[in-house]
Structures are given as C-alpha cells and as structure tokens.
C-alpha cells in the first residue's frame, strides 16, 4: 500500500522543479517552494519551512499530509511573490487531497490483526536437527512462548519533525522458567537474528521462539523470514515485544 502511494510521479515532478541548487549560493533566493520559510535571512533558525512540504511531495509521504496542511497555512504570510503563493497553493492542495487517505491508513494500522504464530507446521525432525546443529542449539521442540499482548501507543513515526504516536500491539513474553538467552552462535548482538545472524531493523519483524532442550529451554529471537523458511512457522499479523533481554 505505502509502496504504491509513494510513487506519485506528478507530485515528484513538481517537487523537483521546486528544489534549489544551494551550491549556486544565490543571494536571497525566492520563487520556489523551498524558498518559503519564516526566517529567510537565517534559514537555519527557521521553524516553518517550505522544504518540509517539498520533501513530503517528492517522496509521496502520504502520512505527512495532515501536518503538511497545517504547515502550508502557516507559511502563507511568508510568501514573497505570486510564484511562491502559487507553489504553496499547489502543495496545500496535495495535503488537502491526501489528508483523508492518511487518516484512513492510520485507522487501518490500528486494526492490524493480532499476531498468530503456528510453529513447525511443515519442518521434518531431521531438518530441525540440521538447523539446530548449524546454530549450535539442540532443537528438540520449538514453540511460541507464552505472550501477554496489550494495545499501547508507541512512538512510531516522525511527522514534520515531531514524533507521532501510533497504536500498536505490544507483547510481553513469559519465558519458561530457567530459559537461557543468546545461546545461538549467531546471536552476536540483540539486533541479530539467532538463526541466520542477519540484522533485523524493523521491530515488527521479530518472532520470539523457545527451544526445549535436554537441559534448560533456550530463547530464539528470529526474523520473520527465518521463522517461516527455517522453522516452518505460519505467521499472520504483527506485534512488537517489550522488555527484551539485552546482550
């Protein structure tokens, strides 16, 4: 959905036409959307900048539309000529058009389905043994640990330079008694998938698993892809997890 909404070639073309080559060091530049700001003499002190609108249009950042609309209204008194007023009006219209879309997307985000993970649907015991040997963890059985889920308002996005809260499902994991953490040879840091060592940057891509072994259980934080492809998990929905053990 985001990937489709971001490809706004008409808005991008407009934004590119309103970029300024700052290397030319023009004195008191004017006439472009990026020139409109509340402190033209000291641009670095500006708190209201047309650049923000231009950037949102350049990359089709639909979720910025509500803030962009407020910003466009505040920038009106700082236009120096009709060309700038026309550019600002175009940017404002972009914000007006996409504000309802942004609102609807936020509502859709809030209604994401609760995560469900079904483990080892298709994986044979021999494959599980081979995967476990590669990881340096004996995998007798793998389960999803018990998780208590709660809807929380999380800091998720920066909109117009301000952190904006989004409602997310956050899980707290109840590890089995005696669970050992970071036993996998790939668990270099708390940002690495315990199955492949790849860094996981999206907090919603983690799947917590627990391996029952001869001795204590072992926690496995794996990426969504490894959960599916290595452990045969079927994953639907998404969630974040709080209170994770730090390496």
């Amino acid at each position: 959905m985001y990937a489709a909404l971001n490809k706004q070639s008409v808005a991008t073309k407009f934004a590119k036409a309103n970029e300024r080559n700052w290397n030319l060091r023009e004195k008191n530049p004017s006439g472009l959307l990026v020139d409109i700001q509340d402190q033209r003499d000291q641009g670095h002190s500006s708190t209201l900048q047309g650049w923000t609108l231009n950037h949102a249009m350049m990359f089709g950042q639909v979720l910025m539309a509500p803030e962009a609309l407020k910003l466009a209204d505040k920038l009106v008194p700082f236009c120096h000529n009709d060309v700038e007023r026309a550019a600002l009006a175009t940017a404002r219209q972009w914000a007006v058009d996409f504000a309802p879309v942004a609102e609807l997307i936020e509502l859709l985000n809030m209604s994401r389905p609760k995560i469900t993970v079904r483990v080892m649907k298709t994986l044979s015991p021999l494959v599980a043994k081979n995967v476990g040997d590669a990881m340096g963890v004996k995998l007798d059985t793998i389960e999803m640990p018990e998780v208590e889920y709660e809807w929380k308002w999380q800091m998720m996005m920066m909109i117009a330079g301000k952190p904006t809260k989004v409602r997310m499902l956050v899980g707290t994991i109840i590890w089995p008694k005696g669970t050992e953490h970071y036993r996998s040879r790939y668990a270099h840091k708390d940002s690495n998938c315990h199955a492949c060592g790849h860094m996981i940057s999206n907090p919603r891509n983690w799947i917590p698993l627990v391996a029952k072994t001869d001795s204590n259980p072992v926690s496995l934080w794996v990426g969504r892809d490894c959960a599916k492809n290595l452990f045969g998990c079927e994953v639907e929905g998404e969630a974040e997890y709080s209170g994770r053990e730090v390496k």
Binding site: M1, A4, L5, K7, Q8, S9, V10, A11, G60, W94, V96, D97, F98, P100, V101, E103, L104, I105, L107, L108
Partner: protein
Amino acid sequence: MSIDFKSIEKWFSGKALTVLRDYVAPTLAEA
C-alpha cells in the same frame, strides 16, 4: 470514511496510476 479518489489521481501517472485505481482504491474503499 469515503475518499474521493479522483482528487488524488491527479498526483499519479502511468503504471502507478493503474495500481492506485486497481489495487489501492478498492482496498481503502473496503476499509
């Protein structure tokens, strides 16, 4: 909530416009 997709179509062109009409608009309309 209803969205007038004609108002946002003008910011798209080419294949992206087709994706908007055929995929994004129906998905958001159902929401």
